[in-house]
């Protein structure tokens, strides 16, 4: 009995020494990525409902500077592998971003829907754009972030984990990227 009490006491000391919960540790993340992971800031992605496997890959790439964005590289540089898992699992538990209020211009939505079909965005990313495993959720993502990301994949200034997005964006024009971002950020 004494042993158990001693063990419990020790455990509580150890826990209080590194007492921050993942919610507390993630507070700075949400300062930029928005309450509940819904970003209100230009070019900063919403995180809510993101696939854990995709989030893990991105956090890893930030830590290793395989994806370069200084605030994120700084934020993750001292992360252990366990930290990367803890944060990516946490991100996946955040609620999905709220869909936008406006349904979009019908003509532009129809034009972009054809592009989505032609480019098979709804294949890997799923018909509802919720993604799966390595493939990110893009539904209800910020339009500016979606367009920026596609431009960066196309000109290879953002390196993907693999080559897929660099390849599929090669024939997609800048105007088409804008239409795709417009559509994907609004479709429901």
């Amino acid at each position: 009995m004494h042993k158990i009490i001693a063990a419990l006491a020790l455990a509580s000391i150890v826990f209080s020494a590194s007492a921050q919960t993942i919610e507390e540790r993630a507070a700075p993340c949400l300062a930029c990525h928005g309450d509940n992971g819904q970003s209100q800031t230009e070019n900063i992605p919403s995180l809510g409902g993101q696939q854990a496997a995709y989030a893990l890959i991105q956090l890893f790439m930030f830590r290793e500077k395989l994806r370069v964005f200084e605030p994120m590289n700084d934020m993750t540089k001292s992360f252990t592998d366990d930290d990367l898992h803890a944060f990516s699992d946490f991100i996946a538990t955040l609620p999905k971003p709220a869909p936008p209020a406006d349904a979009g211009d019908p003509a532009r939505m129809a034009r972009a829907a054809a592009l989505v079909q032609q480019n098979h965005c709804n294949s890997c990313h799923q018909p509802d754009f919720s993604g799966g495993d390595n493939i990110p959720r893009i539904a209800d993502q910020r339009e500016d972030y979606l367009a920026k990301t596609m431009r960066e994949y196309k000109d290879n200034s953002r390196h993907g984990y693999d080559d897929t997005m660099a390849e599929v964006l090669q024939p997609v024009t800048a105007d088409q990227i804008d239409d795709l971002a417009y559509y994907i950020s609004r479709v429901r």
Binding site: P71, L115, H120, G160, D163, P171
Partner: protein
């Protein structure tokens, strides 16, 4: 990591890429116009403009079953040694499989130095590893970081060659500097920079030249003169020459120990169908042969897009077919004495495993036995168990024969290397 909880976003962003981010007044997303009076009829897309010639999306079907298929990539963090799926792996009776080394995220191509150090490339991370055996103790070192998709490694006369996405590097006298290696120096960079099929397997041939593949820049592309081939260069990077044309994406080759002819694996195209084309095992009998891509696949299928006006008979057919979408990658002839005689001069081929197929295929190491004339007698699974309930528990990338005749197999899913031996289990030295 201690973090100040109340810091605003602007503080995190301050000093970094201000030019790229418009902060302050413009930081809020502009208010959208109120709810649109007419909801968007999203279900009735307008006609899209035609895909340009050579688009990687040509031929991709829109069906629901096809939509479920997406490239499969392993996690970026290596599996702990005690969590590796080694007990699930199966080999023929009399063979053993064990973990040789772990903790090398995305472990890909293998090469061995004359002193027994094993070099391991990677594709999704930026590192080259060395598995060093010193006084019976094995350890893993990172010998290069910050490289771009350093998939290929080769060792020759003391020098380690590394293939990045669009350049070939070397580190001279690697064994002498292995505890503190210098940055690799680039010897050849006259290579396309495409992401698609841009990562490379490399090897030094019996002619003491370095062989460098340049894949097609996409699934099925009418490529230019700089793509779809295997080149060879002198070991100082000079004298580039194309050895084989019509190569879609080769990630493995070796030379027949008797005839010195080059054999290479080539990955067949995606999205034609579930069952064809199969990956090819090819043999180069003379410099400059054309193996058909993108006009003809597996020796007898005229490509539906590019095959018109061409005949498969214009191209060198494969000597063997390795299965549909299986991703036949690293391959080596077996010249050791440890395995039974029937394996002598057979080819081991790592089949990474399919993504573009409903029921995954491959995900094993196959053994290819040849006839006396160098044609294929049989293709059989050798090391299996990486595929479980249509999901990967590991994915083999390369194979390499050790001096004692055992066979190493890399697994990029788990970041590990396994060792296959025969007979009474003896730990490798």
């Amino acid at each position: 990591m201690r973090i100040h909880l109340s810091a605003p976003c602007s503080l995190w962003l301050a000093g970094a890429f201000i030019g790229a981010l418009t902060l302050g007044a413009a930081a809020q997303q502009p208010a959208e116009p109120g709810p649109s009076a007419t909801p968007a009829p999203a279900a009735t897309p307008a006609a899209a403009p035609a895909l340009p010639a050579g688009s990687p999306l040509i031929g991709r079907p829109g069906s629901e079953a096809a939509a479920k298929l997406a490239p499969v990539n392993g996690p970026p963090i290596a599996t702990a040694a005690d969590k590796l799926p080694v007990t699930k792996l199966k080999v023929p009776a009399g063979f053993n499989v064990e973990v040789y080394a772990a903790g090398m995220a995305n472990a890909r191509s293998l090469a061995q130095s004359d002193k027994g150090t094993v070099f391991v490339g990677s594709r999704l991370v930026d590192k080259v590893y060395a598995i060093v055996d010193k006084d019976g103790k094995r350890s893993v070192k990172i010998i290069a970081s910050g490289l771009y998709r350093p998939n290929g490694v080769a060792f020759h006369d003391g020098t380690l060659f590394i293939a990045e996405l669009s350049k070939i590097d070397k580190i001279d006298k690697i064994e002498d500097v292995i505890d503190n290696p210098p940055k690799p120096t680039t010897i050849y960079d006259n290579l396309p920079k495409d992401e698609a099929h841009g990562w490379k397997f490399i090897a030094v041939g019996p002619d003491n030249k370095l062989y460098v593949p340049v894949g097609q820049p996409g699934n099925n592309v009418l490529h230019d003169d700089a793509h779809g081939q295997i080149r060879r260069i002198n070991l100082d990077g000079t004298g580039a020459e194309v050895v084989a044309y019509g190569v879609r994406n080769s990630v493995g080759f070796d030379w027949d120990p008797e005839t010195k002819q080059m054999y290479f694996t080539d990955n067949g195209r995606d999205w034609m169908s579930e069952d064809v084309p199969q990956d090819e095992l090819n043999r180069v009998t003379k410099v400059g042969e054309d193996f058909g891509a993108p006009y003809c696949y597996q020796g007898n299928i005229s490509d539906p897009d590019f095959g018109w006006g061409h005949s498969c008979s214009d191209y060198t057919p494969p000597v063997g077919l390795m299965g549909p979408h299986v991703a036949s990658l690293g391959m080596r002839f077996y010249t050791g004495n440890m395995f039974p005689k029937s394996y002598k001069d057979a080819i081991f081929v790592a089949r990474h495993g399919s993504w573009n197929r409903t029921h995954k295929a491959g995900g094993d190491v196959a053994v290819v036995k040849l006839n006396k004339d160098g044609t294929v007698k049989s293709v059989e699974p050798f090391l299996t168990g990486f595929l479980e309930d249509n999901k990967y528990v590991g994915r083999p990338v390369d194979v390499m024969q050790m001096k004692d005749g055992s066979l190493l197999v890399s697994d990029d899913w788990n970041g590990a290397v396994y060792r296959v031996s025969y007979g009474k289990k003896v730990a490798s030295k």
